[in-house]
Symmetry: C2
Subunit: 81 residues, 2 copies
């Protein structure tokens, strides 16, 4: 059975590098990785906030946020509407 | 063939959480993960710096550093000698 992992990003170059390095590196036998672009899918910003995501790129595994390097704050992503 | 991934940490709780969430989640078919505790293995601090690691916990994959959340700066780790 796989566990859900959500990778939140906003299309920035830091995000894309992190996606290639981390989201693609998780064990596919154990993790079902969903990639969410918060710039394109703004309805998901509330989910990211609820999971404790403060900046992107971030990976949420088991409900806990892991902020990976720093692309943009969630406030900036929200402000870019 | 597996690629080398090095997870640098310093024993802090943020580090240990990240180790459980990320280092353990990488695909073992593709990555050979080495865990390095810089507090215990101070000779490796120079390797971490050379890879661009500025804070721990950090994961170096393909030579590029990914800083995951924030436990301590590398300067703090060095200062704790």
């Amino acid at each position: 059975m796989t566990q859900k992992a959500i990778f939140y990003h906003a299309g920035c170059s830091v995000c894309i590098d992190a996606e290639r390095q981390i989201a693609a590196a998780l064990d596919p036998a154990r993790f079902d990785v969903e990639i969410v672009h918060l710039g394109n899918d703004r309805a998901r910003i509330a989910d990211a906030e609820a999971a404790g995501v403060a900046s992107v790129p971030a990976l949420v595994i088991g409900g806990a946020p892991l902020h990976i390097n720093f692309g943009a704050s969630l406030a900036d992503v929200k402000g870019a509407a």
